[in-house]
Symmetry: C2
Subunit: 335 residues, 2 copies
């Protein structure tokens, strides 16, 4: 099959120049006469010529593709990040190749990275929110541009993160400001850095207010686990404020509280994290923390591109601050 399209030589012949001149036009090389440039462009248009990325990648050793390794791209956070990354990359002329992995263990990550490397991607973005992912990155070839998102802050790897701590602190403080005596927390899985950061921020806010943090209740990001925690919280009369590690957990909590007849926000206030598009339509509308995924994507890509261009593998670090979005799920406690 496959009648192969025209190649550079075909364009060159039509324009009456050498293929190298065509290459120069394509790559925006300065020393080409304007008239020649136009002739070449015309020939390109006439033939519908499309440069062959594989050939270019072969000779330059780099493709115009960025590999992304992520776990569950169905979750709102990762999905948004991926979409934003793709948009930003496209603007820079890069394609994005996804390598999602079922588990964030060592082997899976390495395998995904390997796959990307054999396609000679220009760089790799790893959305690596868990501990075990970090190890896999340590033994990577050192000359591959790499950026991790929401990864391990303690590793010497270029990293872009949402400021989980600040976000959680803001959420907790918002509840304290409303007059609550303490704030309970439904956390994400504790091997995720995101969770750890959010627990930290929550704890910091309580300690700063001279309060003793109650034990966090561990969830797994799902509404189901939020529901289970909510069933416990509903039975504890002293609970008046809950901060959940994400909006889906909050949904589960809201549902459990509703079932137990505990009204939100009148009896119990709830704050989530992520600001999924639906959060404004929960019952009641959910106060939550909105991370700026676009900003994270831009920062990551910029960091990656500067590595690709300069060749230096500096261990930079960048943090994006999230914003509190106040809605109706928070109110002062009843006396």
């Amino acid at each position: 099959m496959a009648v192969h399209g025209p190649a550079m030589t075909d364009v060159a012949r039509l324009a009456g120049v050498s293929h190298q001149t065509v290459s120069r036009v394509l790559n925006g090389h300065p020393n080409v006469r304007e008239q020649t440039r136009l002739r070449v462009r015309a020939a390109i248009a006439e033939l519908g010529y499309r440069p062959n990325g594989a050939a270019r990648a072969l000779v330059t050793g780099r493709s115009q593709v960025i590999g992304v390794v992520a776990q569950n791209t169905t979750l709102y956070g990762p999905a948004s990040l991926l979409a934003a990354l793709e948009q930003t990359a496209a603007e820079e002329g890069f394609a994005v190749s996804v390598g999602s992995v079922r588990n964030l263990d060592h082997r899976s990550i390495s395998a995904a990275v390997e796959r990307h490397l054999s396609h000679r991607v220009a760089g790799i973005v790893v959305i690596a929110p868990v501990e075990s992912a970090g190890e896999a990155l340590e033994r990577l070839p050192k000359d591959v541009p790499l950026v991790t998102v929401d990864g391990d802050p303690s590793r010497p790897v270029p990293l872009v993160t949402v400021d989980q701590v600040a976000g959680a602190r803001a959420a907790t403080q918002h509840l304290l400001d409303a007059g609550h005596r303490t704030v309970w927390h439904v956390s994400g899985p504790t091997d995720w850095f995101d969770s750890v950061g959010r627990i930290d921020g929550w704890r910091q806010a309580l300690l700063a207010a001279g309060l003793d943090p109650p034990p966090p209740m561990p969830g797994d990001w799902s509404a189901a686990s939020g529901y289970r925690c909510g069933q416990m919280l509903a039975r504890m009369p002293e609970v008046t404020a809950v901060f959940t590690a994400n909006d889906h957990l909050a949904l589960g909590v809201l549902r459990a509280l509703h079932e137990f007849g505990r009204r939100v926000p009148h009896e119990i206030s709830v704050v989530g994290f992520d600001d999924v598009p639906e959060a404004a339509y929960f019952i009641p509308p959910l106060t939550t923390v909105r991370p700026d995924f676009d900003a994270v994507a831009r920062a990551s890509l910029q960091m990656l591109l500067s590595q690709i261009e300069s060749g230096t593998g500096g261990a930079l670090r960048q943090t994006v601050a999230p914003a509190l979005v106040a809605r109706e799920s928070v109110a002062p406690p009843r006396h």
Copy 2:
């Protein structure tokens, strides 16, 4: 930078064979002595050799990459599909390159497809739920393996779809079976085939029951638009059953009904579509229709691979039936 890794010739030298023999081992060519094969494999392992996809793509004219064009990969449906596609492709040794587009108009789609073509992808999957996307596909080079998902049923292009009509019919029938006299519908945007199919199925079920379908209320997939429609429905005393084109619309409707004090399911029953993971934790838990994204992904990929291998561009068609998931948002009407 970039100390380039070992190439085939390096492996060959170490194993004491020609590079072509290495190539044969790599591609599973039959006529290689077992002993030689082992020597080569050992050399590959020792050097940490990784084949260069770009070189292979150059000489074969095809990469091991599948391009996916999708619109909003943040929505649950597309995101799930993308993830499933990636998983399936990985099992077959293919990488997936995403080209998401902001709008599903002609130009955007063509541009995304162009980008994929210049990377010489082996095939393209277009998640093309709207009318305008179809046109862009017509003028594609005929020799590129292509599969559309949820695309235009009237176009002669290989197509995999969720059976929207059957799903909507099942949802509507479920409400009728519960005793409702008619069923209202909050639809998706009417330029999406998904929406059209769901409207059709809903209408079919009503007509088959000898009922006159009320006018569908147009939404845009978002909870916000569901909320707006819900506000209207809440004020219409005759409404006892609503089928929404997706779960997020349903969430908005539930919220509006709640605000107006109309209880679900006692006064009004609601059925959604998609079975997002949170649907079971809505208030009340949402009865909905679950499309099998994995099955769609498998079917698409299989169709694409058979085109890639055989070179024939047959205009196949495959439909995946969704399943009704009954929860608590449906009850018989009060008399």
